[in-house]
Symmetry: C2
Subunit: 200 residues, 2 copies
C-alpha cells in the first residue's frame, strides 16, 4: 500500500486516464466508481480523497481526453508536410474505421460523447468547451496562419461534419451505410474544403 504524495498523484492520474478510456468506450454513465477503481487496482473507498464528486471526475477525464491530433500536427511538422497534406491526414485519420471502432483509444471526445455532454452539468460542459475551442483553434490554423474569419468558418464546418459523420457511422448497425458515411464525408470535405498550398 503506497501512501506518499507522489503515489497519490500517480493514483489520481491513473484514475483519470482510466476514466477517460472507459467513458469514451461505454458512455459517461457506463462505468461506476467501484468498477473504475477496481480497474485501476484499488478499491472504492479511496475515491473521494481524490474527487469531491463523480462530476469532478467526469470533468477531469474530459480534460484528459486527447484525440490524437497533436500527434498528427507534430508528425506533419517533422516531415515538412504541407497544409493540404495535413488537412487530408486529419480528415482521413478521423474518419477511419479504426477510429470508429475504438473510441476509447485516443478517440475524439465529441464523436464519442457529444450528446451526453450536452445534457451534463455546467462544470462538465465548461471542460468540454475548453477542449472544443482548442481543437477549433488548431484546425483554423490548418486553413490559414492568420486565422481569418473564413479559416475559422472552414474549421467549424469541417469539425461539425467530422463529429456528425463518426456519430452517425457508429449509430447504424448497417456496415455498408456506415462505410458510405465515412468515405463520402472524407471525400466531400477534401473536395470542398482542402486548403490551397502556400504560394512560395
Amino acid at each position: 500500500m503506497g501512501h506518499s504524495q507522489d503515489s497519490k498523484r500517480a493514483t489520481h492520474e491513473k484514475v483519470v486516464a482510466t476514466a477517460a478510456r472507459r467513458f469514451r468506450e461505454r458512455g459517461l454513465g457506463g462505468i461506476g466508481i467501484a468498477d473504475l477503481m477496481k480497474d485501476v487496482g484499488l478499491t472504492v473507498g479511496g475515491f473521494y480523497k481524490h474527487f469531491a464528486s463523480r462530476g469532478e471526475l467526469v470533468s477531469q477525464a474530459i480534460e484528459a481526453m486527447d484525440n490524437g491530433w497533436d500527434a498528427l500536427f507534430a508528425a506533419a511538422a517533422e516531415r515538412g508536410q504541407s497544409k493540404p497534406q495535413l488537412f487530408d491526414a486529419l480528415v482521413d485519420g478521423y474518419l477511419a474505421t479504426d477510429h470508429r471502432d475504438h473510441p476509447e483509444a485516443s478517440g475524439c471526445l465529441f464523436g464519442a460523447l457529444s450528446t451526453e455532454i450536452g445534457r451534463s452539468e455546467d462544470e462538465v460542459r465548461a471542460a468540454a468547451t475548453g477542449k472544443l475551442q482548442a481543437m477549433l483553434g488548431k484546425l483554423t490554423a490548418v486553413f490559414d496562419d492568420r486565422r481569418s474569419p473564413a479559416a475559422r468558418a472552414a474549421a467549424i464546418l469541417t469539425y461539425s461534419a467530422l463529429v456528425g459523420a463518426i456519430s452517425l457511422a457508429r449509430a447504424t448497425n448497417d456496415e455498408s451505410l456506415s462505410q458510405e458515411i465515412l468515405a463520402t464525408v472524407a471525400k466531400s470535405l477534401k473536395r470542398l474544403l482542402r486548403p490551397e498550398p502556400k504560394h512560395g
Copy 2:
C-alpha cells in the same frame, strides 16, 4: 381503469410517445420505467404487458421520433417552394436556437442521442438505421430528383454537418461559441451545398 384492446393500444402509443420525448430530453437512460409510466398516468406494473424489455421500448421510441422534416416538406409542396428554398428552410430550421434548446419537441433523434445510440444494443441501432436511411433519402431528393451519387453525397455531408453542429452547440456552455457554430454551419452549408434552381 380501462382494459379494452382499444385502450391498451392508446396506452401503448402514449407510453412510446412520452418515452420519445423524455429520451431526447434526458438521454436514453435518463428516465426509468416507473417514472415514465407515472408521466403517462399509470403505474410500473403494467409496463411488461406492453414491452418485452426496456430495450424494446427504446427501439419503438426511436421509431416514433419525428424530426419535423415531413412538416417542412409538406409546407414546401403546398407553398410551391423551390428546392433551394426548401434546402434553406431545412438547414435554418435544424440549426435554430429553438431546436438546440428543445430536443424533446420534434427534435432530431441523432442530434439528441447519436452517441448513446452508437453504444446501444443491435435492436436499437437497427431502428436508428431505418430512421437514418429515411432521412437521407428525403434529403437526397432535395438535391436531385433522380437521386444521383452527387445528390446522395451532398445529403450525407449536409446531414453529418447538421448533426455535428447541433451536438457541439449543445455540448458547450459558452453561448457565443454555441451561436457561432449554428450560424457558421448554416451559412457555410448554404454557400457550398444549396442546390441550383430547376431550369424551366
